[in-house]
């Protein structure tokens, strides 16, 4: 059987997950120029929120019916944590030097990991997450697991909704205005504090959706899962052009495909056997990032100020 369609599908699924998380980095950066390194942990708590909802449901509840409830549970937890972080950790530092909130974000990320580790029951090791039973679908020569359909549907739906929200609604246009010039936006009567909270909340909600996808895909959630995923999503956001929401999704998908194809094919190139395989895929992902940034320092789609939100 040919391997290429399967590797493309794997990359697409992984990339859609990176993209959804990357939205959070990109929106917050676009508006307050803060790299919220705690975002990976916002993603992680979303996964635990969804798991909690599932465990609270009566046994025998169908997973398909549980998914919307799990999304709601995950989104509520993620948004609460993210807005609390904005209110108590970042807002007091808004006028402080740029490095202060950055360090705060790293500290917050560690604190959230340890909090889940300490207080979530049995979270000291990975916890198993519900998965769909049944055989995978065969689409164009690739096997797609039933659970992976979730992320493949959720990612475009979320992107379309976000695009509509940012360009068509009053708050969305307020976001664009705040991104372009916070002071003028404030003078025009936009409540910038509220806009900033909205940016954190939307990013968190997307991260929670991605966390449900991650759980269904890997069958487990753990308190450390946010670190690597957060790092990759941040890379995706930079790759696509940080501050640009479509760039975040594109960057995620390019990164996911690059990783998948690196595992599949780099090792087949003569004299490159040692550089292929799973251990080197992250190296190739970052090589790609550097090459793109050398050619296009602003990222694939660029930080287009007008769309920055």
């Amino acid at each position: 059987m040919h391997e290429l369609p399967q590797q493309l599908a794997n990359g697409l699924i992984l990339g859609a997950m990176y993209g959804l998380i990357a939205i959070g980095y990109t929106m917050v950066y676009g508006i307050v120029q803060l790299i919220n390194f705690a975002h990976g942990e916002i993603f992680m708590v979303g996964g635990f929120g969804a798991l909690t909802v599932f465990l609270a449901l009566p046994a025998g509840f169908s997973l398909l019916a549980a998914i919307p409830l799990m999304i709601i549970g995950g989104v509520i937890v993620s948004v609460l944590v993210a807005t609390a972080a904005e209110r108590f950790a970042y807002r007091p530092l808004r006028n402080a030097p740029r490095l202060a909130p950055l360090i705060t974000a790293i500290g917050l990320s560690l604190a959230l990991q340890q909090a889940v580790w300490k207080w979530y029951p049995d979270a000291k090791k990975d916890r198993s997450f519900p998965q769909f039973d049944g055989s995978p679908f065969h689409i164009l020569g690739a096997n797609i697991q039933r659970g992976d359909l979730f992320i493949l549907i959720a990612a475009p739906v979320c992107m379309i909704a976000l695009g509509f929200y940012v360009t068509k609604t009053r708050t969305g246009r307020g976001m664009q205005a705040t991104a372009q010039d916070p002071d003028t936006a404030k003078l025009m009567g936009i409540n910038t504090d509220r806009i900033i909270v909205m940016a954190f909340a939307i990013g968190a909600a997307f991260a929670a959706v991605a966390a449900v996808g991650y759980g269904l895909h890997n069958g487990q959630v753990g308190f450390r899962m946010g670190f690597i995923m957060g790092l990759k999503a941040f890379t995706a956001a930079v790759l696509g052009g940080i501050g640009n929401i479509y760039g975040a999704m594109l960057g995620g998908i390019v990164l996911g495909l690059a990783e998948s194809l690196a595992v599949g094919y780099i090792g087949n190139i003569p004299s490159m056997e040692l550089f292929g395989g799973g251990a080197w895929k992250d190296v190739w992902a970052f090589v790609l990032l550097i090459v793109v940034l050398l050619v296009r320092p602003q990222g694939l789609l660029g930080e287009r100020v007008a769309d920055r939100a």
Partner: protein, 409 residues
């Protein structure tokens, strides 16, 4: 300035007071004689947090159980055994800090642990310099006892303080290869490891024996143990038509790897070493049925010598299972306790006042007793003389023993 001198004064006073009280209590202990017991501490180093904590907590509890049992039996009159567990988070740097802590605490006579060979590598030297006995229930890295030259037959013991109740990767990998080729009739294998000391060593020794037997390694790869998505590698494995996947590594990555393998429609078993022989492997992997693992010793449940261990473990009410290394840990701890007993007996029933660590080290090399996992004693490298291995298979959601055999090279 006045503040600073005040601070120094306070510090000096406090330190002095503490030293005095310490002296005082020691004097009292000496006076009390028979009714006041002297405390002997056995350090325990294992990952108590993080994704390997299932195995680590089993080690901590089993060591504690050995100390409790010795106290209950009043095995060494006048001596109260205590364990001091420290968390190494499966990280070499933390393990080394813990080793330093144990060395600094003069009541520690020996250390049980750690779980990971890579952590052991960073603990061996400081413990050796301090002459503090270390017995690992789980380290299988061959070079830990036989030096880097073991592959060429040039065996040199690098650290005289290091012992283990686990067998080496060399024995385990070879046993797995034999089982897979001779008993499970698999002749082509895809090989994956996680690049850690344990995983890479195991995979290398498996490959050696498997190719010698006439089996074929159809492909090999390395993964990052923190990853959970292996679909890209799985697609490669599928393409090679391998009949089994051998994984050198531990269950947190092995669980999803095995499941994704089967999800892709490749119905071949994943086989690993004692690092995947954990109930968590099955919990994290909905399609574990048919997967294989090897572990050291006979299944604890089958040994008469282990029945009281299992019963006592249950009775003590520990929250976590004893897991793969419970029996080995109990034996490792007991070896130190036995050594303390021998030292006390040789010193006419009293704990010697000086160089206790050196005497315990000397005695550990000579201990001989029937432990949970079978007869316990150490050879000239500090390796266990017990080379019994068992292959397990996941059947009906649990590890079931398939074959037990004493391994002969």
């Amino acid at each position: 300035m006045r503040h600073r001198s005040l601070l120094i004064l306070t510090t000096v006073l406090t330190t002095g007071a503490l030293t005095l009280t310490a002296c005082g209590s020691r004097d009292k202990g000496g006076d009390g004689g028979s009714d006041k017991k002297q405390t002997v501490v056995i350090g325990v180093d294992a990952p108590l947090t993080g994704d390997l904590s299932a195995l680590g907590l089993g080690i901590k509890n089993s060591a504690d159980l050995a100390a409790q049992t010795a106290n209950k039996q009043n095995l060494v009159p006048g001596v109260e055994f205590k364990t001091q567990p420290l968390d190494d988070q499966a990280q070499p740097s933390v393990g080394q800090q813990n080793a330093t802590k144990f060395i600094g605490d003069k009541t520690v006579v020996g250390v049980v642990g750690p779980l990971n060979s890579s952590v052991s590598q960073s603990m061996q030297k400081p413990l050796n310099d301090a002459g503090l006995t270390q017995i690992s229930p789980a380290n299988t890295g061959t070079e830990l006892t036989q030096g880097d030259g073991w592959k060429t037959g040039n065996k040199v013991r690098p650290y005289k303080t290091f012992f283990r109740t686990a067998t080496t990767d060399q024995v385990q990998g070879a046993f797995a290869a034999k089982y897979l080729f001779n008993n499970a009739k698999v002749d082509s294998v895809y090989l994956i490891d996680d690049q850690k000391t344990y995983g890479a060593g195991l995979a290398a020794s498996f490959k050696d024996t498997f190719t010698k037997l006439g089996g074929k390694i159809v492909g090999s790869d390395h993964i990052n143990p923190d990853d959970r998505d292996f679909n890209a590698i799985v697609a490669k494995v599928k393409n090679t038509g391998a009949k089994a996947l051998y994984y050198g590594g531990e269950y947190p990555a092995a669980g999803p790897l095995s499941q994704q393998l089967k999800d892709s429609g490749t119905n071949i078993p994943l086989m690993g070493g004692d690092g995947i022989y954990s109930s968590d492997f099955i919990k994290l992997n909905k399609k574990a049925a048919g997967d294989l693992a090897t572990s050291v010793g006979k299944p604890v449940e089958q040994l008469d010598s282990a029945k009281s261990f299992i019963a006592n473990y249950k009775a003590a009410g520990y929250k976590d299972a004893y897991e793969a290394y419970g029996g080995g840990t109990y034996d490792a701890t007991w070896a130190i306790i036995q050594a303390v007993k021998d030292v006390v007996t040789a010193n006419s029933g009293k704990l010697p006042s000086g160089d206790l660590r050196a005497k315990v080290l000397d005695a550990v090399g000579k201990v001989k007793f029937d432990g949970v996992t079978g007869p316990v004693s150490f050879d000239q490298y500090g390796d266990t003389t017990n080379t019994m291995m068992t292959a397990y298979k996941v059947t009906d959601g649990a590890w079931k023993p398939e074959l037990s055999e004493a391994y002969k090279p």
